[in-house]
Every structure is written in structure tokens, then in C-alpha cells.
């Protein structure tokens, strides 16, 4: 039953041309500082300083625009991006408020204009925050040391894969330990980074309880096992209650255990990675810890481990002297080296520190409670909508901060798919829900995550819009299939973009391939 008043909405439509097409000859948007006469007198014509063989002969076809024109163009494009302007319950990404205070701070010179190779005595503020945040994560996880070099969750998974290599290599067992085990509901970055690091990947399928059985795990464990990489809870909201036994079994054969804590929001302050036996874990500071997502980074996958594994961590690490000052410590001989340059996306760590201090241990507890409760609230209302079913309905225990649903019944009745529904919901100012990672084992999936941010009215509105769209689908399926109508542009055409004749990742390629259309 619809609770909200459905509001009028239409996305901003500027019909904004490509910036290259706005260009007018001779316009200038920026100048570099003019070269002082003393410099010119000393070095002469700058163009003579470039070796002849390397001189640029043909200018790049960049736009020529005044400063204001560039500003207005990109402002238009920002307005043509829905994101958090409406309601976005994008599951697995834990949409949060990103406090403006943090934006104000990190764009000031004391963060923005810092160089990673400065003398540590001149960067005590940054080092203090990084170190203090490491201490916070140690407390929340029970682990012994965190590093922030990884540029996202996937990069932290890669850090684990590389650490696994270094660990077994140091023990002379790498040639034998070539297998990393994961599960079908683990995020794709786990198997993908394990494979990229050179391991053979073993993926365990789901079983009747919503996770692979302990027996299935044991059947693939051997002296070839290098590591286990798993999420828990997974992003269908199922918690594996046997996880301690899993970790124990993997350790018994000499493997390492990595906890992909992408779905930490619902279990903050309730469980700790170390208490479950894990050797290492990863938190996403741009998701769980209030950092900005930036449409896909800059992000941080905070990687933590037990003290036995600290020598293998990617360097440099931030450490504290006995006098209370901080320094950057280069990695030792056992370290994996570097997974990325420097010691992390520092502004994201600062945002996460700030957010966590604002929340406090009491706020983290409340946030986890509200997230899981809100998900259970959603479930009651969503399952009352005709056409919506719950993934793995036979599992009746309450789900954590996410539940995966299916629109399979609606699709069977109307032909309208979950992607069609997603497109139509944007006509009401509600941005995409998360579908499912590959592989889809629930038909026509969708995965909302309410988190602690969204108000009960926002959640209701989201649910009401879904209900309206389901009704529309039954009344006029073609109408929904051709949505959206109130968005910046209409539904993407049917051109096959995997065909080399069609794809164009640059305007130059587009003009060459599609000259007749311009």
C-alpha cells in the first residue's frame, strides 16, 4: 500500500553538447604564469629546450573555451547526474552522508598541498590522523596493524593475494600452495585478484543454508591451500554461523584467512575479525566509514592483519616514536613491497577518521542497529508488493543490513525486467538499486541497502516508487520497458557496444567510425 505522496520530478535537461563541440577558435580558459624576463634572458626561447626529435608538431584537438564556459559546462553535467540528490539505496555500497566539514578541511593546503616525501617533522598532523585511525580500526577488528595504501576494496583484496604470496614464499611453500578458496557469493574482486596474483581459484557454491557447507570447504582443503577469501555476511544478508570452524579448518592445513568486510555496516561493534580467527581483513573507508565515493574513488581499502603478518605488509607504514611523534617506516625484506605508490588516499583516511570520531563507539553501535532494523522494516513492506519475492525465502532468520530480492515473478507476468524497473524508478528521482554481482543465482535480482542515513520517509518513498512501477508494469509493460521519460536522456539505444565497429571511447574514434551520423 502506497504511503507517500508521489512528487513531481524531472531531471535537469541541458542537452549539453560535448565540450569538444563547444570549442571556438582562439578562446582561452587558462594561462600559465608568464615567464619572467630574467628567466627568458637566461634560457632563451623555451621551445628550443625540447630535443628536436621530441618536439610536438601537431596540436591536440582540445576545446578552446573561456573560463566561464568551462565552468558552466561542467556545472550542467553535475546537474545532469542524479546520485545522492534523490534517494539512492545502492546495496553493497552503503550510501552515507559525507559531511561537508570534511570537504572543507581536506581541500585546505594543510592536506591538499602536502607531499608524501616531505620531512616527517613537517607532516605530523597527517601522520597523527593516519596512525590514530589505524588504532581505531585495530580496536574495531581486534587485529594489530592497518595500512591504507590500497586504493579501494579490490586493491585491498589484491593486497591480501600478494601478502599470501610473500608469506608462503618466505616459508618455502609457494610452489606447493597455489590455491585460493572463495565462495560464489564473495565479491568478484576476491577471485579476480587472487587469479591476477597467480593463484588457482576454487569457488564454493551455495548450499541449502545459504552458504557453502563446512564439508564442501574441507573437501577442497589440502597442502595446496594458500588462503581463504570470504565476505560475511554476504550481500544477500546471510551470515555464515560456521565461520569460526571454516577459519580453523583452513588454518589447520596452513592457509591464511582473509575477511572481506565490505558488509561491515550491519555488524559494527558486534563482531571482530580477530575474534573469529581471521588473519587479515579489509574495511572500505569510502563506504562504511563515511568517505566520499566520488563515483568510484579515490577510495581506500584499509587492510589490517595480525602481528605475525605485519612484516609482510606493503610499506611504508605510519609508526609512533616513544616521544609521541610519528614517522613513516620503510618496509622490511619480507614485505610485499608496494601495491600502489605512497601511503594511501590520505584525504579519504581523514574523512573516515572524522566520520568515526563524529559517530563514536555509541554512534557506530546505533548505526549498525538502525541499518539492520531498517532492512527488516523494508522487508516487511517490500514483500507486500505483488511481484516482489525474497531471495532464498526458505531461510527465515532475519537478514542483516541487506536482503536480495527477486522481480522474477513480475518478469514472468509482464516481461518487465529488473533493469527496466531500475530505469523507470529514476523517473521518480530514485537512483538505481544494486542488482547482484556475477553470477546471478537469484532471477531478476535487486538489492537495496537502507543503512543508517535514510529516513523512514525516504525508505517509504523508495518502496512506494517500486510499488508504483510494478503496477505500471502490469498495466502497460511496454511503457516501463521503454523508460525513462523524466531523465536527462532516454533509454540507451540497442547498438552493440562490444562490436569494434561501434565502440568509441574517445570522440576522435567516434567521428572516424560514425562520420555519416555527425
Amino acid at each position: 500500500m502506497i504511503k507517500s505522496k508521489i512528487r513531481k520530478y524531472h531531471a535537469a535537461v541541458w542537452d549539453e553538447p560535448l565540450v569538444m563541440d563547444l570549442s571556438q577558435p582562439g578562446r582561452r580558459g587558462a594561462f600559465a604564469p608568464a615567464i619572467e624576463d630574467e628567466i627568458t634572458d637566461s634560457v632563451g626561447d623555451p621551445s628550443a629546450l625540447v630535443p628536436t626529435a621530441l618536439k610536438r608538431k601537431v596540436a591536440p584537438e582540445l576545446p578552446e573555451l573561456s573560463e566561464f564556459e568551462v565552468q558552466r559546462h561542467y556545472l550542467h553535467l553535475s546537474q545532469q547526474t542524479l546520485g545522492m540528490m534523490g534517494i539512492s539505496l545502492f546495496g553493497t555500497c552503503t550510501m552515507k552522508y559525507n559531511p561537508r566539514l570534511n570537504e572543507r578541511l581536506v581541500y585546505q593546503p594543510f592536506v591538499a598541498k602536502m607531499h608524501p616525501h616531505q620531512d616527517p617533522e613537517t607532516m605530523q598532523g597527517i601522520l597523527e590522523i593516519v596512525y590514530s585511525f589505524d588504532e581505531i580500526l585495530r580496536d574495531l577488528s581486534g587485529l594489530d596493524k592497518f595500512v591504507f595504501q590500497a586504493g579501494g576494496g579490490a586493491d585491498a583484496a589484491y593486497t591480501m593475494a600478494t601478502l599470501t604470496r610473500a608469506y608462503h614464499a618466505a616459508r618455502g611453500e609457494l610452489a606447493q600452495r597455489t590455491e585460493i578458496i572463495t565462495t560464489v557469493q564473495a565479491h568478484p574482486c576476491n577471485p579476480a585478484t587472487a587469479a591476477a596474483a597467480g593463484f588457482k581459484v576454487i569457488t564454493l557454491p551455495l548450499e541449502k543454508d545459504g552458504y557453502p557447507s563446512l564439508e564442501a570447504l574441507k573437501s577442497v582443503l589440502s597442502n595446496r591451500t594458500a588462503a581463504l577469501m570470504v565476505n560475511n555476511p554476504d550481500d544477500i544478508g546471510i551470515y555464515n554461523p560456521q565461520i569460526k570452524e571454516w577459519v580453523k579448518a583452513v588454518k589447520e592445513v596452513g592457509g591464511l584467512c582473509f575477511y572481506d568486510h565490505a558488509n561491515f555496516n550491519g555488524v559494527m561493534t558486534r563482531i571482530r575479525a580477530a575474534d573469529l580467527g581471521f588473519d587479515a581483513c579489509m574495511y572500505m573507508l569510502h563506504k562504511t566509514f563515511g568517505g566520499t565515493k566520488g563515483g568510484g574513488g579515490p577510495a581506500v581499502g584499509a587492510f589490517g592483519c595480525r602481528k605475525e603478518l605485519v612484516p609482510y605488509l606493503a610499506g611504508p607504514t605510519v609508526e609512533k616514536n616513544s616521544d609521541g611523534t610519528y614517522f613513516l617506516k620503510e618496509e622490511g625484506p619480507k614485505s610485499v613491497g608496494r601495491v600502489r605508490e605512497f601511503f594511501g588516499n590520505v584525504p579519504v583516511v581523514i574523512r573516515a577518521y572524522s566520520w568515526t570520531r563524529a559517530m563514536g563507539i555509541d554512534g557506530l553501535r546505533d548505526a549498525a542497529n538502525i541499518s539492520v532494523l531498517a532492512n527488516n522494516y523494508m522487508e516487511k513492506r517490500l514483500l507486500a508488493i505483488k511481484g516482489v519475492t525474497k531471495g532464498l525465502p526458505e531461510l527465515t532468520k532475519r537478514r542483516l543490513e541487506m536482503t536480495r530480492y527477486s522481480l522474477g515473478e513480475l518478469t514472468a507476468e509482464t516481461g518487465v525486467t529488473t533493469v527496466d524497473v531500475q530505469n523507470r524508478m529514476t523517473d521518480y528521482g530514485v537512483d538505481a538499486f544494486w542488482l547482484s554481482h556475477e553470477p546471478w543465482f537469484i532471477p531478476e535480482p535487486f538489492t537495496p541497502e537502507a543503512g543508517e542515513l535514510w529516513s523512514i520517509e525516504d525508505i517509504d518513498y523508495w518502496i512506494d516508487v517500486l510499488e508504483v512501477v510494478c503496477e505500471e508494469a502490469r498495466k502497460d509493460p511496454e511503457f516501463v520497458k521503454n523508460a525513462p521519460y523524466n531523465q536527462v536522456v532516454h533509454k540507451q539505444g540497442s547498438t552493440n557496444l562490444d562490436d569494434p565497429k561501434n565502440w568509441a571511447t574517445t570522440y576522435r574514434a567516434y567521428k572516424r567510425k560514425h562520420a555519416s551520423k555527425k
Binding site: K57, P60, K113, M114, G125, Y377, I456, V488, G493
Partner: protein, 472 residues
């Protein structure tokens, strides 16, 4: 629930449903009496029962702001002192509009929508790829990667998938930090996909790649030759075309790393034989951020041979169901790790996509003339600084010709270590060049100085005066 219920949340500005009435409504509809009920999946022996060290929250923004500022004020930035540090993270001017765009909530907070609701952002991404493609002279450009080094690592693995060979040549002059990243990506010999990294010497007289050593190391097993222009030590590889020719003669791929801010005045690598171009995006409108401003890219010719090995996501210009309307969609998504898990091309995930907004804005502001302008401003200032420093007693600029913005200063004959000199420069409110004495012991007491468009004549002169004093 009684008013004294300890599980009742306290109102917090980041959580609407922390208001008691809202929370109670959630409980009521969800048919939950005690909050612990919703955690019924978690066995009780998994629960943490100890005491936390993390303190209670700071709900007042004024108070939190004061706390953070009191810590961050301990930093001394490149605005407080004059910085001559580069080495993978460079002090270029960031136009105000770049900062405006990356702090727009529409760009800074979202994750992923639909092609129609993300249209504006997708267009920015396409404009980033298109403009970068113009600078580097390539028609196929992926969305950004984590950094210069990770872009190089992925590109070399692309090369290995393309020709099936296992040996990669990298210059001995390469940034040790980027080299470490590349070695991480190259893997271990015990496992799949291992790439054997072999270094090629650099010529101590020029700072450039040693072509004789390159020739000696080239054979039919070489998968790819990687070099940078300018290289880490600042030198421009003026024999780039010859390097590419030699690499191609054994069937190797040529992977070149470039600094895009140089490309108004320096030839794009596509013109001297590059097959895959990688590089940094940080100079294009992104602050240094203590190293948290770095980003990378991969660009190639628009050929299936390359396109089908990209590990990144790519946006393509296309149309909608309405004739003449522009849209953007992902191309070759299924080869990504999102599409194919362990069978995808390496992996991708969150990257530095927000910086693509800054980069696109920067390139649009600069235009073709702006890039010439900034290139000239940098190369002239850097040369002026090098010439003046070279005249100091006991101080020598190793390669005085053929560099862009970075150059190596040797202090051997002053009898003083770079470490000492840089400590003393701090008293003059100067961050001296990056100390190379550990990384390149063969260069003695040397430092890598970086001079860009932000350095004024007065600041360079002040550096020279300070160096004179501290090396005396």
C-alpha cells in the same frame, strides 16, 4: 520499549532514524521487540563482549572541526614553504574550477546509477578519455586506474596476454616506488602469469636509457619494453623512436609512461612507436594530497588486439532510443572482473574516477594553447633553476640538457649529505629535492629537484641563495 532502554539510539545528525519516534516505527513495522532479535543469525559466541577503546561520538561539528584543525595545523604545506619535491607527485597549479567540480555533491558522493541518471557524469568521463586521447595521440582510452605505477603494471600484463611472452624490460632509472609496484604486478615465478623483470642500464653521461645495454638484452623472449618520457631522473628520452624500433624488431610491445602536462610541447608517444601509453593524471588539476592525489591511465590504438585486453571499465559514446540523442554506455564490460570474476582481465573496482572530473575540467580550461603555455613555463623555469644551481660551488646538475621539470643535483663536492642539506633548507622554509642517495647510490649525494609553473623567479633565486648558504 521503556524510556530507559539502553538500546534506544541517541539522536545523531548523520542518522534520521536515530530519532526515538522514527526508530520505534521501524521496530513496530518490522515486528521487533528487542534489537538483538535482528541479529539472530550471529551465534552468541561470535559477539564481542569486551570494552572498546574508541571514544563516544563528537556530535558538535564546531567541536569536531576544532579537534581536526588542531591536528592538521601541525602540517607544513607547499603553501607554507617552497617545495621542490616531485618524484611521482608534483606541485602543479590546480585551477579553482577543478576544485569546484570535484567538491560538487553530485560528483563527489554517488556511486553508480543508470545510463540516463548518470548521463552527466558519464559525459565527463567520456570527455576525460577523449581529451586525454588527444594529448597522447591514441583513440582508445580506458577509465582511470589507481596510479601511474599500477597503470604500468596492468599495461605490461596486457602486453603479456597479447604476445604470450614473459620477459619485460624496465629502465634502471625507473622510480624505485613505481618499480616496486611493477614487480608486484609481475608476480612470483612459482605461480601463474609470472613476468620476468629485467632492468636496462641508463647512461650515466646523459641520464637516458643505455641503448647498447637495451640491444644486448633484447631477444625474441622479450614481451615488452617499458620506458618513460620524461624518465624518473628527469631526462627526456630523445632516442625514443630508436628504442621503439629496437623493441619492435624482436616483436616486443612498446609501453611508454608519460607526463600529460608536458604534452603541449613534447611529442605524443604514439608518434615515436608506443603501442600502449600509460601515465599519471595527477598533474591535470589534482592536488598532491600527501600522495593521495595520484591516478593513472592506459591508452592505445583503437584495435581489438588491445581493446580486448583492457582491465578497466570503458565508456563509449552511443545513442538513445530517440534519434539524434547522445548517450553513454559501457563497452567490453564482460571482460572486466565484475563481468567474469577470475576469468576477467586482471581486476578492476573503485578507482580514482572523481579525479577524472578534475582532469577533464583541467584539459578543457587549458585547451591546446594552454598546454603549450604551461609546458613552456615549466621547462624555462626548470632550466633557469638548474643553470643557477649548477653554478654553485661544489654543486653539479648531472644532466643539464634535455629535461622537462625535474633534474638531478649532485652535492658530492660540497662534502655534505642531501639529508643534511635538506634539513638545513627547512630553516629557510624550503623543501629540497627528493633524496636519491639511498635509491641510486651510484649517483652519490644527489637529489631530484622539481620546478614547475608555480615557482616564481624569486622563489628559485631564494632556493639558490639558501643552497649556497647551506652547502658552504
Amino acid at each position: 520499549m521503556s524510556a530507559k532502554d539502553k538500546t534506544l539510539p541517541q539522536p545523531h545528525p548523520f542518522m534520521a532514524n536515530s530519532a526515538p519516534a522514527s526508530y520505534r516505527e521501524l521496530l513496530r513495522v518490522a515486528e521487533v521487540k528487542e534489537i538483538d532479535e535482528v541479529f539472530e543469525q550471529i551465534p552468541t559466541d561470535h559477539l564481542f563482549k569486551g570494552k572498546w577503546k574508541v571514544p563516544r561520538g563528537i556530535k558538535s561539528e564546531a567541536q569536531l572541526s576544532k579537534h581536526l584543525t588542531s591536528i592538521l595545523r601541525k602540517n607544513i604545506s607547499a603553501e607554507d614553504y617552497t617545495s621542490f619535491l616531485g618524484a611521482g607527485c608534483w606541485n602543479h597549479y590546480v585551477p579553482a574550477i577543478c576544485d569546484e567540480m570535484v567538491t560538487r555533491t553530485e560528483f563527489s558522493t554517488p556511486v553508480w546509477g543508470t545510463p540516463s541518471s548518470d548521463h552527466g557524469r558519464n559525459q565527463v568521463w567520456f570527455e576525460f578519455c577523449s581529451q586525454l586521447g588527444e594529448l597522447v595521440g591514441m583513440e582508445f582510452v580506458g577509465l582511470p586506474l589507481y596510479s601511474y605505477g599500477t597503470a604500468a603494471g596492468h599495461a605490461l600484463r596486457m602486453a603479456a596476454r597479447i604476445n604470450g611472452r614473459k620477459k619485460i624490460l624496465i629502465p634502471a632509472s625507473l622510480d624505485p616506488e613505481r618499480a616496486k609496484v611493477i614487480r608486484t604486478y609481475a608476480g612470483f615465478k612459482e605461480l601463474n602469469g609470472f613476468l620476468d623483470v629485467v632492468t636496462v642500464k641508463f647512461d650515466k653521461k646523459t641520464g637516458r636509457l643505455d641503448l647498447a645495454d637495451l640491444k644486448a638484452k633484447l631477444d625474441k623472449e622479450v614481451c615488452a619494453v617499458y620506458f618513460e618520457n620524461p624518465n624518473y631522473l628527469g631526462a627526456l628520452e630523445s632516442e625514443a623512436a630508436e628504442i621503439s624500433k629496437l623493441a619492435h624488431s624482436v616483436g616486443a610491445e612498446v609501453v611508454v609512461g608519460v607526463d600529460p602536462i608536458s604534452l603541449g610541447i613534447i611529442a605524443p608517444a604514439s608518434q615515436y612507436g608506443a603501442d600502449i601509453i600509460v601515465g599519471t593524471t595527477q598533474p591535470l588539476g589534482v592536488h598532491m594530497n600527501a600522495g593521495g592525489g595520484v591516478g593513472g591511465f592506459i591508452a592505445t590504438r583503437d584495435e581489438e588486439r588491445y581493446a580486448k585486453e583492457y582491465p578497466t571499465l570503458q565508456v563509449s559514446l552511443t545513442g538513445t532510443t530517440v534519434p539524434g540523442e547522445m548517450a553513454f554506455g559501457l563497452t567490453l564490460f564482460h571482460q572486466s572482473s565484475y563481468g567474469s570474476r577470475e576469468n576477467g582481465k586482471d581486476w578492476t573496482g573503485n578507482s580514482v574516477y572523481l579525479w577524472a572530473v578534475a582532469n577533464a575540467t583541467y584539459m578543457s580550461l587549458m585547451g591546446p594553447e594552454g598546454f603549450v603555455d604551461v609546458g613552456n613555463s615549466i621547462i624555462a623555469r626548470a632550466r633557469y633553476a638548474a643553470e643557477r644551481i649548477n653554478k654553485l660551488k661544489g654543486v653539479k646538475v648531472l644532466w643539464r640538457d634535455g629535461f622537462f621539470k625535474e633534474f638531478v643535483v649532485n652535492f658530492d663536492k660540497t662534502g655534505k649529505s642531501v639529508k643534511k642539506i635538506n634539513k638545513k633548507l627547512l630553516k629557510h622554509e624550503i623543501f629540497g629535492g627528493k633524496d636519491l642517495s639511498d635509491e641510486f647510490p651510484e649517483l652519490g649525494e644527489s637529489a631530484l629537484y622539481c620546478v614547475t609553473e608555480v615557482h616564481t623567479l624569486e622563489e628559485i633565486d631564494a632556493l639558490v641563495d639558501a643552497l649556497k648558504e647551506v652547502t658552504a
